[in-house]
Structures are given as C-alpha cells and as structure tokens.
Symmetry: C3
Amino acid sequence: MAAGRTLKELADYLGGTVAGDEGKTVIGVASLDDATVDQVTFLANPKYASKVATTGAGAVVLPPGADRHGRNAIVVANPYLAFAKMLTLFHVAPRPSRGIMEGARIGDGVTVGADATIYPGATIGAGVTLGDRVTIHPGAVVYEEVSVGDDVTIHANVVVYQGCRIGNRVTIHAGTVIGSDGFGYAPDGEGYYKIPQLGIVSIEDDVEIGANTTIDRAALTATVIGRGTKIDNLVQIAHNCVIGQNCTIVSQVGISGSTRLGNRVTLAGQVGVAGHLSIGDNVMVGAKSGIPGNIPSGSLVSGIPAFSHREWLRSMAVVPKLPDLKKTVAALEKKVAELEARLASE
Amino acid sequence: MAAGRTLKELADYLGGTVAGDEGKTVIGVASLDDATVDQVTFLANPKYASKVATTGAGAVVLPPGADRHGRNAIVVANPYLAFAKMLTLFHVAPRPSRGIMEGARIGDGVTVGADATIYPGATIGAGVTLGDRVTIHPGAVVYEEVSVGDDVTIHANVVVYQGCRIGNRVTIHAGTVIGSDGFGYAPDGEGYYKIPQLGIVSIEDDVEIGANTTIDRAALTATVIGRGTKIDNLVQIAHNCVIGQNCTIVSQVGISGSTRLGNRVTLAGQVGVAGHLSIGDNVMVGAKSGIPGNIPSGSLVSGIPAFSHREWLRSMAVVPKLPDLKKTVAALEKKVAELEARLASE
Amino acid sequence: MAAGRTLKELADYLGGTVAGDEGKTVIGVASLDDATVDQVTFLANPKYASKVATTGAGAVVLPPGADRHGRNAIVVANPYLAFAKMLTLFHVAPRPSRGIMEGARIGDGVTVGADATIYPGATIGAGVTLGDRVTIHPGAVVYEEVSVGDDVTIHANVVVYQGCRIGNRVTIHAGTVIGSDGFGYAPDGEGYYKIPQLGIVSIEDDVEIGANTTIDRAALTATVIGRGTKIDNLVQIAHNCVIGQNCTIVSQVGISGSTRLGNRVTLAGQVGVAGHLSIGDNVMVGAKSGIPGNIPSGSLVSGIPAFSHREWLRSMAVVPKLPDLKKTVAALEKKVAELEARLASE
C-alpha cells in the first residue's frame, strides 16, 4: 500500500546522503534482522554494526563513519530519528476527513474547521471552536466554550471541561481528563469547604498526552502544559502547575499544585513532586523519586526525598548492608569500652 | 454578571463585621495584587499584611487584630474560608435545570427528581433512582438499580456499577469508576478462580471524588466512603474498605482491601496502605509513604515502611551520608584492631 | 431466586465428599457467623474451627481432618476455593442475551457471534469481529479491526484501539484503555519526534483487567498479556511488554517498555519495573518496590531499588535507628582518637 521511494528521495526526506545506488527503490522499513531486499533498515546502536554486512535489507541508514560493507546506504547524523521518520513515511496512512458524522452531538454555536472528523457519539458543547483537520473520536466529551487548534486528535472517551484551550498538533489519548476541578478545600472547622476552581487548562502546541491522565484546571488562572511536552499514561498534574516546553513526563508521575517545571525536564515513572516548587531546566528525576523542594537547573536527582542521583546510588548500595553495619558498630563499642577499661586500670 | 453586594451584606454572609463603609458595593473577589476598587480582596497570610495599605481593592477581608490601614474591611475569623465563600457567591453561577434532554438514554423504571439535568449521551440503567437537582453529564453510565441522592453532579464518562448508592451533595469528576469488581481470586492450583464481587459501594453525603479514580465494590457487603471525605484524581480504593468522615485522600493514593480509615485522616500523594488495617482518627501520612500495619489515632508518619514523621526526617538526613558512615566504621575497625594488637603485645 | 442444592449435588460440584445428611438442601452461602439453617458456610481459616460447633448454618464446607462437631459437612481440599465456587453457583445470575440493542453503533463489516449483548451507546468500529456471548456495555468504544473472542465482557467506557486482539473469557472493567500509543519519541535536537506505534495489544484467554488501567500497543509487534493473568485497577503496562501466564498485577503498578514477565509473577501494589528487563517465573515483588534490573525466577524482593525481601526487612528495621547509629559512630571516633593519643604519649 505504501508507495516505493528511491534512496535519493529518502535521503532528501531524511537530510542525508546516499552511498551506493541512488535509484534503488524501497517500500518499507524493518529491523536489521527482519528486513528484506525491498526494505530499508537502520543502524542506531554501534554494537550491531556487524549486522550491516549480513542484513537482507536493500539499504541501510547509517551514522557518519560507519562501515557500509559495500551495501547501499543513506548516511544521516541520527539514524534512530531517521527510523522514526521512515516509519511515518512508509507506514502511517493519513486518515481521510469524514466530516461531522451522523450521531455526533454538536451544541449551539460550535465552529468546526475544514476537513474535520467528528465521530458518532462524540459530544461537542455549546460555543466550542474546533480547528482544521481535527479528529474527535466516539465518546469524547468537550464541554462548553473549549477552543481546539488545528490538526488535533482527541481519542475516544476523553473529557475536556469547559473553557479549556488546546493548541495545534496536540494528541490526547483515550480516557484522559483535561480541566477537572483542582483539589482545593478550606477547612471550616468540622469539614471542608470547596474552593471554586474557576481557571482553565491551557495546552500549547505539539503536546501529546497519554491515556487516562488527569490535568486539573487552575483555581483562578491556568494550568499550563508547555509546547512540545510529552505526557504518558495515568499522570496527575494538579491545579495551577506550569509545565515548561519539551518536558518528558513518564507514566504515573504526580505533580502537586502550583509547581513550575522548566524546559526539557524529565520525570521518570512514578515520580512525585510536592506543591509550590520550582524545578529548573533540564532537570532529570529518577523513577519513583519524591521531590520535596526546589531543584536547580541541570540537576540529576533520585530518592525519597531526592538528592544527587550519583550519591543516591552510592547510598543505596549501603542499605542492604545496614544490619551488618549496625552489628559492626555494636562490636566496636564493646571493644572500645574494653580498651578504655584496660587503659584506665593500668 | 454577578450581582453587587454591600459590605454589610457580605459580612452577614461570611459571619463577620464591617469596619468602614457598610454601604460600599463590590462585585467580585481578587487577590491583593490584582483587585480593583469594585472588588473585595482578602488577607490570609500575615506576611502580606503590608499590602493591605496599597491594594487597589475596594475592601479587604481581614482576621481579627490585623491593621486595616484605614481601608474598608470585613473582619472574619478565617479569611481563607471567607475567600472561598466569596468566590462561590460572586463567581459560581447555578446551572439551570435542563431536564431529561433528547439523546439521554433512560432505562425502564427510572425515577428522576425535580429540576434534574440529564445530558444527551448519558445512560441511566433500569431501576435507577435519581434525586432532585441531579446533573448527569454526557457519556456517564449508571448501571441498573443505583440510587443517587439530591444535588449530585456526575461528570462526563463516569461509570457507576449496579446497585451502588450515592448520597446527597456528592460530586464525581470525569472518568471515575464506582463499583467495579474487587480484585479477589482464589488460587485453584494452576491459576485463579474469580471470587464473585456481590457487594456495593456506598458514598455518603458531601463527598467529592476527582477524575479517573476507582472505588471497587465489596465482595459481600459495602465499600464505604464516609460523609464529607474528599478524594483526588487517580486514587484506588479497594473492595471492602471503610473510609471515615472528612478524610482527605490525595492523588494516586492506593488503599488495599478491607482497610478501615478513621475520621479526618489525611493521606498525601502516592501513599500506599496495605490491606486489612485499621488507621485511626486524625492520622496524617506523608507523601509516597507505605503503611504496612495499623496506625493509632493522631499519628503523623512517613517512610516505606512508615514510622514517626519526625524521626523519618532525621533518618532521611543520614541516608546521603551512609557511604561516609560506612567508610568511617571501616576505618574505626582498623584502628581498634591496631589498638588491640598494640595492647596485646605490651 | 437461586435454586436449592442438596449437599450431594454441592459436593459433586465442588469435588468433595459429604459427611452427614446427603439430602439436606441449602439455598445460599454465608459466613460462619451469619449463616442460617438454609445456608452452607465454610471453614477456611483454622483459627475459626470452634465456630463450626456453634454456627447456625445447615452445613459446613471443611478441609480434610477438621472436626465437623456432628454437623452436616462437605469435605474439600480447598474450602476457600469452594466458597468462591459456591458464591458463583448460588449468587451469580447469568445475564440473558439482549442482542444488538437499538442505539448501539455498529460499523461496516462487523461480525457478531451468537447470544451477544451490545448496549445502546456502545461503538463497534468497522471490521471488528465479536465472538459468542460477548457483552459490550454503554460507552465502550472498539476501534476498527479489533477481534474479540467468546464470553468476553467489556464494561462501560472501555476503549480498545484498532487492531488489538482479545481472547476468550476476558473481562475488562470500566474506563480501561487497551492499545493506546506507546510512549516513544526520538529526540530531534530541540524537541521530540514521535515514533509511530504500529503494533497491537494481544490479550490471551481468561484474563481479567480492572478499571482505568492502560495497556499500550507495541511499536512494531505486540504487547502481550498472557493467559489467566489478573490485572487490577490503574495499572500501566507500557509498549512491547510481554506478561506471562497467571500473573497477578496489583493496583497502580507500572511496567516500563519491553519488559518481560515470566509465569505466576506477583507484583504488589504501586510497584514500578524499569524497561527492557526480564523477570523470571514465580517472582514476588513487595508493595511500592522499584525493580531496576533482571530478577531470577523464584525471587522474593522488596525495596527501591529492590533486593532480597528478607534482607530488606532487616535493613528497614535499622533505618529508624540511623540517627543513633551516626551519633554512636561519632562518639566512637572521638574515643578511639583519645585512645590513640594516649597510647602515642606513653
């Protein structure tokens, strides 16, 4: 189904150069082990370099300096990125627009851009604005007055609460909830009085959000997800958080209210971040860590509570030896007491 | 849109007293920094007391004894609670009842109270009872024989399994699942035999539950969420748990089966509680902690496994120094052995 | 409603033998404390053995060797399993097939087996195959080209993405998402380029999956959930994972990409497993643990990072004593220095 491409066309698409037969045509991409003569493969990990000689592929995408073993090759700076781009080129079919389908529920005053697809069973509330080439899957519910940019895909059973803003080229996977009330209550003596959550969530361009994630609306202003940030499944982002650009937030992370992340922050799986913190640019946090305080830019931290990842590794190596260490110290105490007694008696 | 209120009216609503112009009218609430002459602001944190002199607000809500700097003021015991109440008064518009809308799916024998709103795409199973002023959003699915009290809001794509009971003034946010089967199996040699989960979930009055949370039905009786308890997003409450009144359960907490919480318990984010435990009243558990045993009332605990929070802080301060501690002990061992050898040779 | 059974019939169903009146009829099952003369009860925990003498039940299911105190009894190897089977027999009513109900959305080329129930508001995409006796609840969305086996129950608002395969006798609870895109991106200098996720999820026979869980599709091949495995609520299973047979994966566990679990693995609540790992058969991981490396078959581990559970318990017992240990070591250092000084001066 995918059209064939010559190596020359492929090299132009990838920003690389051909070594070998520029006119050779390939129709797909596969691994070094699995590729056939009609397919292109790639060498991303140097430890597989010898497979370039033996792969059945018709061509190999290689980094500069790698031995092409006489094979047709495309030389690019980043073969793994090239692999992702070739997968897209060969194997991702654009979904044709199907328009507003019968059974979609469209509220009053909704505007829909060109070439949209709104499936049966999707609900679009009054006053919503949808951009061009938007796809809204069945069961998704977009409350009133939401604005959605161009080229956005909202998967089945996503919910976007009223007034939230979604930029361009955003994908939201199934079951995710955007704009539910922040968790804010004022103690009133016996119980809790709900603090109205009057703000919104604003999702900037090029964000992707996984399945069953929750992002709460701000109390008064906006919870912000910065441009290019990628969020995995089952992540919790509380009210008033401001997440920077190109962050990577892995599954089951929780970020408490009013915390700000810089750009290019990576939070590994199941990390928890306390509220009202400032996390700098390029910070990396190891899996399952707990962040109780501000983190300066460029830090790599782990642990509960977190400190330097390198030091954490060294400390954790001691933990299994703690019972022995305790015994050793008890024995030393006894020996020192004996030495002291002996010297005192001399 | 919100109607203006005189300071006298506002003070009566808040249970406070006016100092200054009782007839002054305000039309909204904003922060000390942002408020304008038509708005009221509030002083909740004493460190901002000097801003009372300079705020642009037309009036300030203050605690007793705070300097009003000659401004119009309303004196109340709890300005933060007053802020929440004023937000509600000025900025939360009641949603007018829209009735059972076309496209709502209503099963046989359903009873619906006065002034309800059931949106298109909501599904109400046979035999369900809904109270007055109930709002059921699109995509919510209420299985058979559920009972729902008055003034309940069920957001989009919530699922309530059969037979569950929901009290009055309960709000359930989008995507939450109430009454799915508890995780119970009997090993049968090779694999697992499912233990039928025949009980229900009972949610008492004034509970709010966040988005994408899960509360499992009991095996035989009822999983209970006590009156006034607030549950955040992505929380797991397993079968047969009994949660007390006015508890605060923060995002991503997990509570294993048959555990009982007292009243006013606070579980911070990502806490895990083992099964069949008893957690006393007023217990507070620090973020990410793991609770393996019963906790007496009034305790403040942290850690995995958890112990006294104060002692946990002191222990965690030692963790980064464990490698040094281990080296110090090794050096001491060597020195003590040398001392022993020297004394032995004398 | 449930038909009565003689003890003889019940013993045959359970694979046990009657002691006492084989013709005695019972109509339900209840606990030792609650059962009445028309009900059967069971003794699973030896510490309640004395209640066999005093229970009001008409018969007791017992393990071999237990004293029946003259009561009617059924002797079985595993009374707890028998309890689960009796609950099913007496108290789980089969749901009669209701066919494809009006308001169900069925795509082109869908095939549906015998005796299915597809509720109003369910969406079945084009080319989907559904087996016999399948139940699809309201709001569930099955994308194109999914195949579903016999005797499968898909609860409300579940989403299954395109092309995924579901075996026989599988139950998926509300809000769970099967087949959302894996979290894969190639850094492209400034930001991230999405790696197309072209594989599927394959769920084998006899799997049960809880509510609001997420299982991502593979990048190229299949994420696999092995036969008989039970998965709780809010679990995350990342792309390319292969989960073995009869595993037990408790709530809020997260398993990173490309990790393989053997058979009969138990992961307790909130465990995290890193990516590209191999976890052997019969491994048990304690609650909240973090697994950074491969685990050999038969291991029982805990901790972050995890090591032997038995050693972890011993280490954790030292943690609260770390401040004292540190003080003791400091005191020893001082004493040893004094001893050294004294000996040096002699």
